[in-house]
């Protein structure tokens, strides 16, 4: 690209962690380099060593880690270069911020809540040279303006909680950019953000490269983000680099087997429509006339406010119904009320207005005692596989819990036969019943979670983002399993997700929520093929597709949409 040296050059890096179970190697002989002004994406699944590799560039490894190899970091003008693994702590502090800086995954925890954002930016400036308070503030205002914070002169004195999630991430990026480093390491910079905000942050990162000439190491598991931003891609697997190629080439012609499978398991919008049509055709003729399992009529759910303040309306006049054996996909961004609806159907959150009928039982003002019988007909799959099992019970005991609670079995031992059947139904080996939840991986736990939800053969299943905590390849398998089980058991389902592509795979009908209101509802073909509502259009356009060329076109479309709306 130019005569300047690479901003970072990693040579045969090995990182080993000391754990209770002995030493574990996280990175195994990684060699890579980043040219000035280049966006290098490191992709891989959790545990592939991508984050550890990136943190090594900043010398941010925990005490339990030992690193061998060389990480040569050069300043932006190429005047000096240092081996991060060899320099003193003091020198390392000088390098951080000036030569390399970091953008963290979770903007709300990366900012200190008790200081203004201006103070926090100035802190970074004043740590690297003689600046007066006033100069630092001027610089902070300037950089806030450049990352697209409106009215930076007054907002420099705002506290982090006064910004929205996307704006907070802009502030974090401003902090990273303020000393004009040659390299920014961005660790999953958009994972915690909604898809429409993600598109804006990706635009900003692109501007970082174009306007500031900053190279970016982008760590992500989202292939759509990679396609949107990256120039070159490194695929990591089990601590090793398995493939390295320019973005365009990687997506059009993946060479390594693992890359191919990784790309193959990325859900794409539009793939599920044919399946939904097939299912609809297979329904019995009187299906449409049968009594729905769930009917929501002008449903309102309000959370009580603090003393003297009005409550927060999470769901505001939503009407929908779920017919027997039908999968309704509920899509929305964080705060749209989708989880609240799911919890209300399961009786975990109280309905405050309108009407919600679940299996013929009115949920507005329900009594727990009267509802208990209905509960055996409802299954629930939770979002976080890590916390949805009691850590002190074995998987078999957890799966047997519904059977015991509803008197179908006296104890876990008596239920074991049925538990084994269930584990086999979700394709887990029987012996896994004797393991404890922490001995299972996330995907396996989510399978067990499905087994528990199906133990009583419910006629309604509520799945609250069941795959959002999983890696993309595992997600694909769990979704496939879900579809198979749905076909076999024939339960109706409410499938809650923030990801349109995921919902598209499973749902017969899709409902889109926006700020507590239902903005659009229809079959996958209707909602995704020809969205009528402006918000749905924006949501759909914001979703990055794993194809750099197509993504570039979509980016322009989104820009037009935003300008229009």
């Amino acid at each position: 690209m130019s005569s300047l040296p690479d901003v970072v050059r990693i040579d045969n890096l090995n990182v080993t962690f000391a754990t209770d179970g002995g030493a574990v190697k996280a990175v195994d002989g990684v060699t890579l380099h980043v040219a000035p002004g280049e966006v290098l994406a490191i992709v891989g699944e959790s545990g592939s060593g991508k984050t550890v590799t990136a943190k090594t560039i900043l010398g941010l490894l925990p005490e339990t880690a030992t690193a061998h190899g060389a990480v040569i970091l050069s300043s932006k003008d190429g005047s000096n270069s240092n081996d991060v693994l060899a320099v003193s702590k003091q020198k390392l502090r000088q390098l951080r911020g000036t030569d390399v800086s970091m953008v963290f995954q979770e903007p709300s925890t990366a900012l200190n809540p008790v200081y203004t954002v201006g103070w926090q930016i100035a802190e970074g400036i004043r740590a690297h040279g003689e600046f007066s308070r006033k100069e630092a503030r001027t610089k902070a205002i300037e950089i806030l303006g450049r990352v697209g914070i409106p009215d930076p002169e007054s907002r420099v004195d705002y506290y982090p909680h006064q910004f929205s999630g996307g704006q907070k991430q802009r502030v974090v990026i401003a902090m990273a950019l303020v000393l004009d480093p040659g390299l920014i390491v961005a660790d999953e910079p958009t994972t915690a953000l909604d898809v429409t905000v993600q598109a804006e942050i990706l635009d900003l990162l692109r501007r970082c490269r174009d306007e500031f000439g900053t190279a970016i190491v982008l760590i992500t598991h989202n292939m759509g983000v990679v396609a949107d931003l990256a120039d070159r891609v490194v695929v990591m697997y089990e601590g090793k680099i398995v493939e390295e190629a320019p973005a365009q080439e990687l997506f059009s012609n993946p060479r390594h087997e693992y890359t191919k499978r990784l790309l193959g398991s990325v859900p794409r919008v539009g793939h599920g429509t044919t399946r939904a049509t097939d299912r609809l055709a297979a329904r019995e003729p009187d299906w449409a006339d049968r009594a729905p399992v769930v009917v929501a009529d002008n449903l309102k759910i309000q959370y009580p406010g603090r003393l003297g303040k009005p409550g927060f309306t999470a769901v505001d006049g939503v009407s929908f119904n779920i017919r027997p054996g039908e999968v309704l996909g509920l899509v929305g961004e964080s705060g749209s009320g989708k989880t609240t609806i799911g919890r209300a159907i399961a009786g975990l959150t109280r309905v405050t207005g309108g009407s919600l009928t679940v299996l013929g039982h009115e949920m507005h003002g329900f009594k727990e005692r009267a509802f208990k019988k209905v509960r055996s007909d409802i299954g629930f799959v939770f979002q976080d596989p890590a916390s949805s099992f009691n850590p002190l019970l074995t998987i078999a005991e957890c799966v047997a819990e519904p059977l015991i609670v509803h008197g179908r079995a006296a104890n876990a031992g008596a239920a074991r036969k049925r538990v084994n059947e269930l584990l086999e139904a979700v394709q887990l080996p029987r012996a896994y019943g004797d393991r404890y939840p922490h001995e299972l991986s996330g995907g396996q736990r989510q399978r067990a979670s499905l087994a528990r939800a199906l133990a009583l053969e419910p006629s309604l299943l509520i799945a609250d983002e069941p795959t959002s905590a999983l890696d993309v390849s595992v997600q694909a398998k769990v979704l496939e399993l879900f579809a198979e089980l749905q076909k076999e058991f024939g339960f109706a389902a409410l499938f809650i997700s923030h990801d349109l592509a995921v919902v598209d795979i499973l749902a017969d009908r899709i409902a889109v929520l926006y700020r507590g209101k239902l903005v659009e509802e229809g079959t996958g073909a209707e909602v995704l093929g020809a969205p009528k509502d402006a918000y749905t259009q924006r949501l759909l356009a914001s979703l990055p597709v794993p194809d750099p060329a197509a993504q570039a076109l979509r980016r322009d479309e989104l820009r037009l949409l935003r300008a229009a709306g």
Binding site: D20, A23, E45, T66, G239, G347, L392, Y436, R447, S473
Partner: protein
């Protein structure tokens, strides 16, 4: 959909290595292990001394004379009295050994009385919340403001009318400690309960329609008691200090009823200025050592329970293997609907994330 695959259950460590303290001892390294071992040895010696006091002590705790006549007061260490005698003419060594019995009784009674009440109240208060929770929290905060020793004095007067016999003294100390400890257990269990109540597995039990009692005892209680051993050890040493404090200010147990270190220290006050060091040194040393020992155990358990504070052996340069299947949670790409082989190939141990620790069960 009927795949019959039997696999051997995951191999489990032998039972004795999973016992609470043994597990931590095996897990610890370096300084932390040293601290734990020292603490355990001191505590062990203390407990053994208390159990075998009648065999170990050369004389009784209230013995003033033997066959050859009275012991004599303030005799220097050596000869028949290894650690000398006190101003009252008691054998110091025997008093120190017998004193461990009194100390351990107070600790056991204080903890037994407070732990059940504190845990039960904390569980109910945290789980149900509402007005009961608020009232209990206010009461506990009020009790915090009370000095333990003052309470112990009041208890001593109430229970035994100021006359200090063995059980009067022991219960005065134990009950006053109980009153102060209940809020501590209450606070810890309540906080854990409130946290666990929001965990998905408790919500999942609620969705199933499990009763409140079942959720509280099967799902919440067992997960909430993780920090108890730590408060337990720290409270034990505090109980001992309160007992000794009571004895020192004159509300302790009469020497004819039991041996008690605080009382001996009180009586030895005047000896110190006249160069008689053995009457105060040994009971004082006993108190310091036991508090130190128990606190060391408590602190090391605390550090070991927290993965961030726990030290580990540094890895060698070439010993480690790559963390095999942690790369693809949920089985390999071939597993699942495609086939079960991939799932089977992964061993349970390597499924864990490097930072996943079995003890730190989430």
């Amino acid at each position: 959909m009927t795949m019959l695959i039997e696999t051997a259950p995951a191999p489990k460590a032998p039972l004795w290595t999973r016992l609470p303290v043994v597990h931590q001892l095996r897990q610890s390294v370096g300084l932390q292990r040293g601290m734990l071992v020292v603490g355990l040895v001191i505590t062990g010696v203390f407990i053994l001394t208390a159990i075998f006091a009648p065999l170990l002590a050369p004389y009784g705790y209230s013995q003033l004379r033997d066959d050859s006549g009275p012991f004599g007061a303030q005799r220097a260490p050596g000869g028949e009295h290894l650690l000398g005698t006190t101003v009252g003419g008691y054998d110091v060594l025997s008093r120190v050994i017998w004193g461990s019995q009194t100390a351990i009784t107070v600790m056991v009674i204080a903890i037994v009385l407070s732990i059940f009440a504190g845990v039960a109240l904390g569980l109910v208060s945290g789980y149900f919340g509402g007005w009961l929770d608020r009232v209990l929290v206010v009461i506990c905060d009020a009790v915090y403001a009370f000095p333990a020793l003052l309470l112990a004095i009041v208890m001593g007067i109430v229970i035994s009318g100021g006359r200090s016999d063995l059980w009067g003294g022991i219960f005065a100390a134990a009950i006053s400690i109980t009153v102060v400890f209940i809020p501590q257990y209450f606070r810890v269990i309540r906080a854990e309960t409130v946290r666990i109540k929001a965990e998905a597995y408790v919500e999942s039990a609620r969705v199933l329609g499990a009763s409140n009692g079942r959720i509280m005892f099967r799902h919440v209680l067992r997960n909430a008691t993780r920090t108890l051993p730590l408060i337990f050890t720290l409270n034990a040493s505090e109980a001992l200090l309160t007992l000794a404090g009571l004895g020192f200010i004159g509300f302790g147990i009469e020497p004819s009823s039991a041996a008690e270190w605080g009382y001996d220290l009180n009586k030895s006050l005047s000896d110190v200025t006249s160069g008689i060091w053995w009457t105060s040194l040994f009971p004082g040393l006993a108190i310091v050592l036991i508090v130190l020992g128990i606190t060391l155990v408590g602190e090391s358990l605390n550090d070991l329970a927290d993965p961030r504070l726990r030290s580990r052996r540094a890895p060698g340069k070439t010993t480690a293997g790559v963390a095999g299947t942690s790369v693809v949670p949920g089985g390999t790409l071939n597993a699942g609907p495609g086939g079960i082989d991939g799932l089977e190939a992964s061993s349970p141990a390597s499924d864990q994330h490097p930072n996943d620790d079995p003890f730190e069960a989430k």
